[in-house]
Amino acid sequence: MKKIETTIEKLKSDIADYYKPDQHHFIVMNAVDLGEKMEIQWFFSDYAYPCDTTCFFAIVNPAEEIPSIKEIVVSAWVAEAELVDLMNIKIENTEKGFVLEPDFESGPLRKKK
């Protein structure tokens, strides 16, 4: 797995430079709770043999709003909608309510203090 560090400001330009629809395949988006901060990861792979997974990651504060990559990668809306509910983070242009019921407390996958 190849890991490439990025930040919230450079995220859209990094992914727009890297992603080509006929060569790369977007797998999923993930978030890991590190306690004080969160690590958000975006996984890609190639349509070729042999291929390895490429991971763009950013260490952010849980209260910051993360930009969305829906304009660059169209099918990312499902992964973003899932993380907004399960991890209680904010992503641009994404509403809560896709996974959990409206009266359920969001963020069940966060670490309990």
Partner: protein
Amino acid sequence: MGKQYEIPVGAQHISLLEPLHFKFTTVNEKIKSTEANVFYVHRGIELACCSKFKFRQVSFVVGRVCGLCSISHSTAYSQVAEKLLKIEIPTRAKYLRMLVIELDRIHSHLLCLSHVAENSGFEALFMKTMQYREFSMELLEAVCGNRVQYDFAIVGGVSRDLKPEIGRWILERMKTFMPQLEELVDIYQNNWTLSLKNKGIGVLTKENAMRLNVVGPFARAAGLAIDVRNETEDLLPWKEVGFEMITDTAGDVHARNMLRLREIYVSIRIIENIINGLPESALITETKAFPDGEATVRLEAPRGELFYYAKGNKTQVLERLKIKAPTFSNVGAMAETFKGNEYGSVPAIIASYDPCLSCTAR
């Protein structure tokens, strides 16, 4: 301009095997747009695997995420745990895992084909395909001890060995199955009433497939050559046992049916190669280490690409486990490709996508 109606194909529907919900906006029965809602059976498995269960027990928990691709989940988890523990499994265990994955692929593809036939109105073909599928359940019971929950792949290797007489019996049953498979190929290809419901319906073009990042037979029928067995060889030797990629160009329901049937031929060839050339070695690698670091694994389940990410922290309980099921990647594309089709073809199109909602909404 006709009147616009909003019709749901709801969580409960007579033709659905899986609990999903689409709300269609239609004009004179032609679909204009769709809204999808899929998280009906969310059980919180990722949270349970990181809090309640120890890392060796998690392979049994994730085997119960899905009933049809149970072996794919437990194999992928065992591979990612072995990467975290930094151990290698013996060669006989690798070949036995591949054998059960291919047997599982046969029974899953036959189930999907029978469901498409039922939703297209051809109930007799549904019954016939199910009758021919029964032998694969008996073979899986002989190899793994149970028809549905295999509990076969564990961290470090596999739990049971393959007896030589069971291997010979599998080869005999494959020989009995081949003429039955030819008969099914003939009916799915040439039957005129089935082609009215299947040809030209639910088309996905290759550009849309690349743009929407679809996986599995759904993508291969559109011409996009994506198959994890073709892309990675470090964990399981697929090319050595005779794997070949199959693609099609039409992208409609008929093309997906024929693609699944051709993949069954490839699976039968792989099973024969494995049984005839099974190496002798141990079954499990023992270790007393704890998982540490992070790792990812991709595996080809019958419905597409399965992805696992795990992070360990040197204790018995994992820190984070992320599961991405193949239908999760296809949800966006499913909503897009309904456009322009008639409302009456919706059950057949949904069945040909082969959705597995228990994997998606784990």
